[in-house]
Amino acid sequence: MRVFTNKSNLRSELPNPVVTLGTFDGVHLGHRKVLDKLINVGDKFNREVLVITYWPHPRTILSPENDIPKLLSTLENKIYLFEKLSIPNLLIIAFTKELAEKRHDEFVTELLVNTLNVHSVVVGYDHRFGKNRTGSFDYLSENSHSFNINVFEVAPFMLNNVPISSTKIRKALIDGHLDYANQMLGYHYFVEGKVIKGLKLGTKINFPTANIALDFAKQQLPKDGVYLVKTEFDNLSFFGMLNTGENPTVKGKGRSIEVHLFDFNGNIYGKKIKISFLKNLRQEKKFSSVDELKEQLLIDKQTSLEIINSNSF
C-alpha cells in the first residue's frame, strides 16, 4: 500500500481516481462495506482507488474536552488494517481547525475537483463533511453533474437490526460486551503497548505478568476485568490472560494493565506488544487473600485453555 501525506503532487500519481473519505476509526464491518464498493467501482471503471482518511480524529479537534472519544485505532493501526484489506492507496489529511471551517462546497471543489480530479466518490450513508457537517451524499448527488463526479452511497451494515458504528463499538467495549464489539469490528479488538517494569507481585504467586504501558493513552480499553488475549511481539505469538483495572486485592497498586503469558518464560521489558482481546473471562473482583486470588487465577487459566482448545473465541 502506498501512503500519501501530501495531496498536492498526487494528481500525477493517481490521475483520475475513485475515492472514499472518512475517519474510519476501527475500520469495522460498516467501513468494509464502503471499501468493498470502492474496490468494485475502481475495477469497473479501471481507475486507481484511493482511501482518504483524516488524522487526528475530527472529534479530538472539534469536541469539547470532556467529550473527546477514546479511539479504537491509532493511525498506525488504521494503516495496518487498510493494508490487510488490500487497499492500494491511502491519503492521510491532517485534520485542523482550519479545515473544519471550510464550507462543504469549498471542500469538494478544492479537494475532490481541483486537487485530486476525482472520477467517482463512494460515501458511507452517515458521512458528513464541511463546516458544521453540512455536506453529505445528498449534496454530492445533487451536484454530481456540475462536479463531473459519479457518486455512490453505501447503506449501513446492519447487525441484529442495528447499524454498526465506531460509537457503538466503543460503547460495547466500555459496557463489557467484548464479543459484540468484536463481531462489529470483524476482527478481535487490539491495542498496542510497551512492556514496562511492574511490582513483580505476580511472580511470587507463580503468575508472572508483563505490565503494559499503552503507546497511545487515548486508546479505548475494554471494561475493567480479566480477558483471554493473544499477544504478539518479535513475530512470536502467545495466548495469555490480561487484567485491566484498579487491582483491588493488592493495596495501593492503582490502575494497570498486566498480562500473564501461557507457556512463556523470558524477559520482554521494553518490547512493543500487540494485544488482541479474545474473550471476557470475568469481572475484576476483590479477594480476601492472595491465596484466594491465586486459586481464582488457576480457574481462569483452566477456562482459558478450554476456550483456546475448542477454538471458541
Partner: protein, 237 residues
C-alpha cells in the same frame, strides 16, 4: 455445473456448461456475457435472468448446448436481499438516476413499515420500471426513458413468495424477498414506498438464490479465468 467446487478437467464449453456466476457491481448482465465470451472464446452463451448494473449476486450462465436449458433456470423462483431508502424516489427506482421527489419520513414507524409488506405477498400486479430491458414496439423501453419519453408498459402478474423486513435504520430498510420469474424488485420497492404514502428506491440489491442454487457457490471473473486457465493447462499436458 461450474461452481466453487468444480473440477477444471471436466470442462467442455461447446458441449455445454452451466456456470454459477457472482456478478460484480456496475456490470450489466450483458457486460458479463461479453467478458466471459472473451475469456473462453465461445459464441453460444446466455443467462437465465437479467441483473441490473447496480445489483450484485447470482447469475446462471449457460454455454453451448446447455443454452437450451436456460428457460428451465429462468422459471425458478429467485431470492434477493437488499436495502431500500425511504423518503425519496428516482425515475429508475434505484440510484442509476438521481432523486426526483423527496418525502417526509418522520411519521413512519417500524410497525407501519413491517405491516405494509402484507400488501405485497402472494399474487400481485406490477408495472416494470421505465428503465428496464423490456421491449415495446421492438424498442427497449430504457432507450425511450433515457430520451425522456414514457412508453405505456402493460402491468404483469408476479408472485411474491416471501417479503421480510430484516432491519430498519431510517431512512434505510433491509429486506429479503423471494419471488417468481419476471418480478422487478425495483418496482416492488417503488410500490412499497407508495403504499406508505411515501417514496422508496433500491439502494442495494443482491441476488442470493435462483431456485436452490446459491450465490455462495458462485464464482467471480478472477476465479472463472483461473479455472479456465488450469483446464487449458491440463488439456495441453
Amino acid at each position: 455445473m461450474l461452481s466453487k467446487t468444480s473440477k477444471p478437467y471436466l470442462l467442455d464449453f461447446v458441449k455445454g456448461e452451466v456456470i454459477l456466476f457472482d456478478k460484480p457491481l456496475l456490470y450489466s448482465s450483458f457486460d458479463v456475457i461479453r467478458k466471459i465470451k472473451k475469456i473462453i472464446r465461445i459464441r453460444k452463451i446466455g443467462h437465465a435472468g437479467t441483473l441490473d448494473p447496480l445489483a450484485t449476486g447470482l447469475m446462471i450462465l449457460c454455454t453451448g448446448k446447455k443454452t437450451k436449458e436456460i428457460d428451465q433456470f429462468q422459471n425458478l423462483p429467485k431470492t434477493y436481499s437488499g436495502t431500500m431508502k425511504l423518503g425519496a424516489t428516482t425515475r429508475s427506482f434505484d440510484l442509476e438516476t438521481t432523486v426526483d421527489h423527496v418525502f417526509d419520513i418522520s411519521n413512519l414507524t417500524h410497525d407501519t413499515i413491517i405491516n405494509a409488506t402484507k400488501h405485497f405477498k402472494g399474487e400481485i400486479m406490477q408495472f416494470p420500471p421505465v428503465f428496464s430491458a423490456i421491449k415495446i414496439d421492438g424498442k427497449r423501453v430504457y432507450q425511450s426513458a433515457r430520451k425522456g419519453e414514457n412508453k405505456d408498459i402493460p402491468s404483469r402478474k408476479v408472485i411474491i413468495y416471501d417479503f421480510q423486513i430484516t432491519a430498519i435504520n431510517l431512512p434505510f430498510v433491509d429486506f429479503i424477498i423471494c419471488c417468481s420469474k419476471g418480478t422487478y424488485i425495483r418496482s416492488l420497492i417503488h410500490d412499497f414506498g407508495k403504499s406508505l404514502d411515501n417514496g422508496a428506491f433500491v439502494s442495494d440489491l443482491r441476488r442470493l438464490k435462483i431456485g436452490d442454487y446459491h450465490v455462495d457457490d458462485a464464482i467471480n471473473f478472477a476465479e472463472f479465468s483461473e479455472i479456465v486457465n488450469s483446464a487449458e493447462k491440463i488439456v495441453l499436458e
